[in-house]
């Protein structure tokens, strides 16, 4: 019972800190960011502790069971008249996402240390955004999930629209319109589930027991899946993300690509695929083809980008394609690969955006052709960027490979020709990934030229900046070198979903 309160605390804490910041004098720039950092640090410690407890004593479902077993669960009536409940809990999948979110939020806070203008508002919005994401990952009631999910959209809009750069108003509007469109589809699906279930319930666990009518599944599944896939950055609905990232401030880019998008693919798995297995089986080939197209498309388009942020945004399209590809294979290895890829991409892309932000702060440009030879001036940032690049291109020993290998193996063992063709395309796209990663890293880090008029202004990262980089690097390395425990826990959590899919 107490542990379940801790779980609730994960989203209450950021909200409380946002309230505290509201009351805080805006003059105290340092105080504001310290409060935010403190709250996020406590949250990170809390979630790390919960994860450790969970990993030591993982709850296990019966082998044939199709029912997700929750740890740290809490279940209270919220609007009894409509059977809306505050039902929270975690399994290995959501806890892994929580951990990712906590790490990225903490690092994003540190990466925003130098924000001066409207710094109080910035951190308030960031905390609200975090609260929405944490709440979404623990919610096992569709209504609560939806509320938390919507909670993330408003701060995203404001953070990009106010604190962004370039065409920030347009980017914020585009992002929000697309995501609202996704939300509309999600709402449609959720209401469909609610009324079709016959028990008028929003509870994911209860709904998973209901064998929905096939005709209903055939239209509800694509609505829900697509709604989440828009948020999850699936080709060709990814178009909000490159503009959004390019305009967003560093912390928001980190958060958006690292965590927020994962909410989409998480919803695809947790809600659309879990609750509507028949619709899933019927539609999955379509989404598999789209996912494979996205993997290749993102990589090819990234190869032509000159702006580092656009490059990483398209790289994200490609890597999120791998998430959906893993989901589409509908087997243990593939699904596990998808979840691991969410994590891996979350850490890697957060690190890359973090580094791009730090480099931009020094060179005042994000264009690859305008930079050269940064290694000599900022060795720490250069080495970090090279490792991040290697992780993105799937070098063994780093997180990306551990995840991708599962996805590819899922395709090769799925037993359908389409799956083999799609994973072949995905495997070939890693060559293109190598091309754009090396083009970018070589272009800005190596070479004889110098960047900007005053090389002396190009300093290496200070210790405060090194902390988020090192934390993210440690996560990438740990996941790449020792994925065994994580994978085993994910297997257990995926079993009910797979059992439901094969029912």
């Amino acid at each position: 019972m107490q542990a379940s309160c801790l779980l609730t605390l994960t989203w209450v804490m950021p909200l409380l800190s946002a309230l505290a910041l509201l009351a805080f004098p805006a003059r105290s720039v340092a105080g504001v960011k310290r409060i935010a950092l403190l709250a996020n640090g406590i949250n990170l410690a809390l979630i790390a502790w919960l994860s450790a407890v969970f990993a030591l004593h993982p709850p296990a479902a019966a082998p044939g069971s199709a029912e997700t077993v929750l740890a740290f669960a809490a279940d209270y009536a919220w609007f009894p008249a409509w059977h809306i409940r505050y039902h929270v809990g975690v399994d290995a999948i959501s806890l892994a996402m929580m951990l990712l979110a906590a790490v990225v939020v903490f690092c994003a806070t540190m990466a925003s240390w130098n924000i001066q203008e409207r710094n109080k508002e910035f951190f308030i919005l960031l905390q609200v955004l975090a609260a929405g994401v944490f709440g979404s990952f623990i919610a096992f009631d569709l209504f609560a999930f939806f509320v938390f999910n919507e909670l993330t959209l408003i701060p995203t809009y404001l953070l990009i629209g106010i604190f962004g750069s370039g065409r920030k108003e347009f980017a914020a509007m585009k992002l929000n319109l697309m995501l609202m469109g996704g939300s509309a589809l999600i709402l449609l699906g959720i209401l469909g589930l609610y009324f079709e279930s016959g028990i008028r319930s929003f509870d994911i666990i209860e709904l998973s027991r209901i064998p929905f009518d096939k005709g209903f599944q055939l239209w509800a599944f694509p609505a829900l899946f697509l709604g989440f896939a828009i948020l999850g950055n699936m080709f060709p609905f990814h178009i909000w993300s490159p503009d959004g990232h390019a305009s967003a401030p560093t912390a928001v880019s980190m958060f958006l690509a690292g965590v927020h998008m994962k909410l989409g693919s998480y919803g695809c798995l947790r809600i659309a695929m879990y609750l509507l297995p028949e619709g899933c089986r019927a539609w999955m080939d379509v989404f598999m083809a789209l996912a494979a197209a996205g993997v290749v498309w993102g990589a090819v388009v990234a190869a032509k980008q000159k702006d580092l942020k656009y490059l990483n945004a398209y790289s994200s399209v490609s890597h999120c394609g791998l998430v959906f590809l893993g989901l589409a294979f509908l087997n243990t290895v593939g699904l596990r690969g998808a979840v691991m890829q969410m994590l891996a991409h979350g850490f890697i892309t957060a690190l890359v955006f973090c580094l791009i932000g730090m480099i931009y702060a020094r060179t005042h440009t994000r264009l690859i052709p305008q930079m050269s030879g940064l290694t000599a001036r900022m060795p720490f940032l250069a080495v970090s960027l090279v490792i991040a690049g290697f992780a993105a291109l799937g070098l063994p020993g780093l997180a990306g490979f551990a995840a991708e290998l599962n996805v590819f193996l899922g395709g090769f063992s799925a037993g359908s020709p389409l799956a083999v063709i799609c994973s072949t395309l995905a495997v070939l796209s890693i060559v293109v990934t190598a091309v754009y990663v090396l083009r970018a890293t070589n272009g800005i880090l190596n070479g004889p030229g110098q960047t900007g008029a005053d090389p002396a202004a190009l300093t290496d990262a200070g210790w405060l900046e090194k902390i988020p980089v090192l934390i993210l690097l440690a996560c990438i390395l740990a996941m790449g070198l020792m994925p065994g425990r994580l994978a085993a826990l994910l297997d257990t959590a995926l079993l009910p979903i797979l059992n439901n899919l094969n029912r």
Binding site: K174, L177, M178, P236, I239, W240, D243, W297, V300, V301, A303, K304, Q305, N331, T332, V333, G373, T375, A376, V386, F390, L393, G394, L395, P396, G397, F401, A402, L405, N406, F408, L409, F412, S413, P417, S423, T424, V427, L428, I430, V431, A434, V435, L438, R439, N442, L445, N446, G447, P448, P483, G484, A487, A488, D491
Partner: protein
């Protein structure tokens, strides 16, 4: 421990030594990379060298333990193989209880033990050499951790117990070589070369990955012990696909895996990255070309040799790529003027020989083919490393890579030890009795003859003659050249540089050269017994277990090809003789083909324009015709859809805004109309 797993071997000192072999280079990488390299380049150099020396010592413990406890106990270790240790990295459950396991293991069998010895020994010498070579380099503190990492990845690769581990370290080897080739990161050519090496090998690796996934999933295991057994070949030997597009899975899978080897070992047409890779510091080149990186491909093919033997088609591809590359690269090497580039093409050519030797194994003598290839890897590692290190000493002395400038300096007198060491290495690679290269090359030719692969035999003989020619040319131009007049402006610069830095042989750089000269000379005679005995037996049994029967186990070529060594030697001597006549005797030799520059010479000097073809494919086809249109489509059509939709909404809104005229009369009229309609259709009268 299932039946496909090998019995783990527990002889404690050897067990610990096996861990040490992987951990010490890793430790060196971490200590130097994270801390010591930035504090003191010199301390980091010595730390790396000492740790690498310790690794070499440990590899001797492992080798002797292997000899005493495993080779002598065939009843316990029927395949002469054992696992020093094995840990699971990741398990993949494939449904219905089948589990595919990726593990980190230390596999002991004749070829892995041989490779561990070679890699650790050569890495140690290269480290020692680098202390002197990198002394004045500003980035020396960065160099030694990377060098240790390179050795670590290669050691991890050769001791792999399963394909997943091989791939894991395979990619890391690629990354390490990328970082080392591009070590001088401010030099555009080095940066370009490193990128080229990584991307080309990555392209090959994508096929490797697909091959290994297809093989692993269908054979049910990644373990070499299982894959090299008869069940795996049988399980894979069926058709997949439908209609006109059907493949034999065994051929397809092994071909995919071979593609990886193809790229890593730089067989034509993937060869273009290797000559450019010499942009890195010379010690790196010597490692890449002798013990690490490029031999990985040959090693992988040998590692899966029993499985490959069952796939006739793949074996033919191995043979053809190898034989073609051997001749092709040797021909190019004849017309190069850059010291290291000549050596790079000679590596390509020798790798081709090793590969073609493996490919000839489909005939009656799989064991002989296998032996020959491994033997040549072994001898080649020593004399090629020696060649690069002595070339490095020359470059270090004259500050130029140009073979014609080297000739101007009278290096023979200034660097006598380098002179004699180079002579030994050149004679060894040319296959002159009784130096090491003679024996391994002879074994390759014999294998081709015994297996009835006459194409590969002809390619081998031709390569031998060309090798002797270009290596003799290399040697005479550096040490006996006097083509002073032919390149006046450069010569003056070269001699000028020598005046500034008088040519001398540093002790730290000469020592490894002298040490390496010994195995380069003698390892052929000494190693012959090991290879024709132990290794051959392993290869023969492996071939037999995968379905290829061996007619007779004892060496058969004694009866069938006693003329071969004589022919090979005559060819080698005549090749060297021509080079001597042109480049040493006539004294204007350096200019001979260069001055007249006939068309065939230009084609050779330009490396058959393969690089230009690649450039065209990359810059024009891939970038201009594929990526650029895709980017345009993304910008204007995919994103355009959003703009179009928002535009449509705006236009709709404009239509509606016409109604918002701001005139109160109009509003009242509409309101009254609405009220009327409301009552008309909902009122009691309706």
């Amino acid at each position: 421990m299932g039946d496909t797993r090998l019995a783990a071997f527990a002889w404690e000192p050897m067990h610990c030594a096996a861990y040490g072999i992987l951990l010490l280079p890793l430790l060196s990488f971490l200590i130097n990379g994270l801390w010591l390299g930035r504090k003191s380049a010199r301390a980091s150099a010595w730390t790396a060298t000492v740790l690498m020396g310790a690794t070499a010592a440990l590899s001797i413990i492992v080798a002797s333990g292997y000899r005493d406890h495993i080779l002598t106990a065939p009843h316990l270790f029927p395949a002469r193989a054992a696992l020093a240790f094995e840990h699971t990295w990741l398990d993949f459950s494939l449904g219905s209880g089948a589990v595919l396991s990726a593990r980190l293991g230390f596999y002991l069998d004749p070829i892995s033990v041989m490779m561990v010895l070679v890699i650790s020994f050569i890495s140690f010498l290269v480290n020692l050499y680098s202390i002197g070579y990198m002394k004045d380099d500003a980035g020396a503190g960065r160099f030694f951790p990377l060098l240790s990492f390179f050795s670590f990845t290669m050691l991890g690769l050769v001791v792999s117990s399963n394909l997943a581990q091989t791939f894991f370290f395979w990619e890391l080897v690629g990354a390490a070589s990328y970082l080392l080739i591009g070590f001088w990161y401010a030099k555009p050519s080095a940066v370009a070369a490193s990128k080229k090496a990584f991307i080309l090998t990555r392209l090959a690796d994508a096929f490797f990955l697909m091959g290994l996934l297809a093989v692993g999933v269908n054979a049910g295991s990644f373990d070499f012990a299982h894959l090299n057994g008869p069940e795996a070949a049988a399980a894979l030997n069926h058709s997949v696909g439908a209609g006109l597009v059907t493949f034999n899975l065994l051929s397809l899978g092994t071909l995919g895996i071979y593609m990886g080897a193809w790229g890593k070992s730089a067989m034509f047409p993937f060869h273009v990255w290797l000559p450019d890779a010499m942009e890195g510091p010379t010690p790196v080149s010597s490692l890449i070309h002798s013990a690490t990186m490029v031999v990985a491909g040959v090693y992988l093919t040998a590692r899966l040799y029993p499985l490959f033997s069952a796939a006739e088609y793949t074996l033919r591809v191995v043979e053809c790529t190898g034989a073609f590359t051997a001749v092709f690269a040797a021909a190019i090497a004849c017309a190069q003027t850059d010291l290291k580039r000549i050596l790079a093409f000679s590596t390509l050519s020798q790798l081709g020989l090793m590969m073609s030797a493996l490919g000839t194994g489909g005939g009656g003598e799989p064991g002989a083919a296998y032996t020959a290839s491994m033997f040549h890897i072994f001898t080649h590692a020593f004399f090629k490393c020696l060649l690069f290190l002595s070339a490095g000493a020359v470059i270090h002395a004259i500050h130029s890579n140009d073979i014609r400038e080297a000739g101007a300096g009278g290096l023979r007198k200034a660097m006598p030890r380098t002179y004699w060491a180079t002579l030994i290495a050149v004679a060894a690679i040319a296959g002159i009795w009784p130096l090491s290269g003679f024996f391994s090359k002879e074994a390759i030719l014999h294998a081709a003859l015994a297996n009835g692969r006459y194409g590969a035999l002809a390619a081998g003989l031709c390569t031998g003659a060309l090798t002797a020619f270009y290596m003799a040319r290399y040697f005479f131009l550096i040490f006996h050249g006097s083509a002073v007049g032919s390149r006046a402006p450069h010569d003056s610069r070269a001699t000028h540089a020598q005046e500034a830095h008088p040519v001398r042989e540093g002790a730290l750089m000469t020592l490894p050269i002298l040490i390496l000269a010994v195995p380069s000379a003698l390892i052929g005679i000494l190693g012959k017994g090991f290879f024709t005995g132990t290794v051959r037996l392993w290869g023969a049994e492996g071939g037999a277990s995968a379905g290829v029967s061996e007619s007779a186990l004892p060496m058969r070529h004694a009866s069938s090809g006693s003329w071969l060594p004589a022919v090979a030697t005559v060819l080698a001597l005549s090749g060297a003789g021509i080079a001597w006549y042109w480049y040493a005797f006539r004294k204007n030799g350096a200019a001979f083909p260069d001055r007249r520059a006939p068309a065939w010479y230009r084609i050779l000097a330009e490396k058959f324009y393969i690089d230009e073809i690649y450039l065209f494919l990359a810059k024009r086809v891939a970038s201009k015709w594929i990526a650029a249109p895709a980017e345009w489509t993304e910008r204007n059509i995919v994103n355009g859809a959003f703009d179009w939709m928002t535009g449509a909404v705006k236009r709709l809104a404009f239509l509606q805004s016409i109604a918002q005229s701001g005139q109160v009369q109009a509003y009242i009229a509409v309101a009254l109309l609405g009220i009327y309609l409301l009552f008309r259709f909902t009122g009691p009268g309706y």
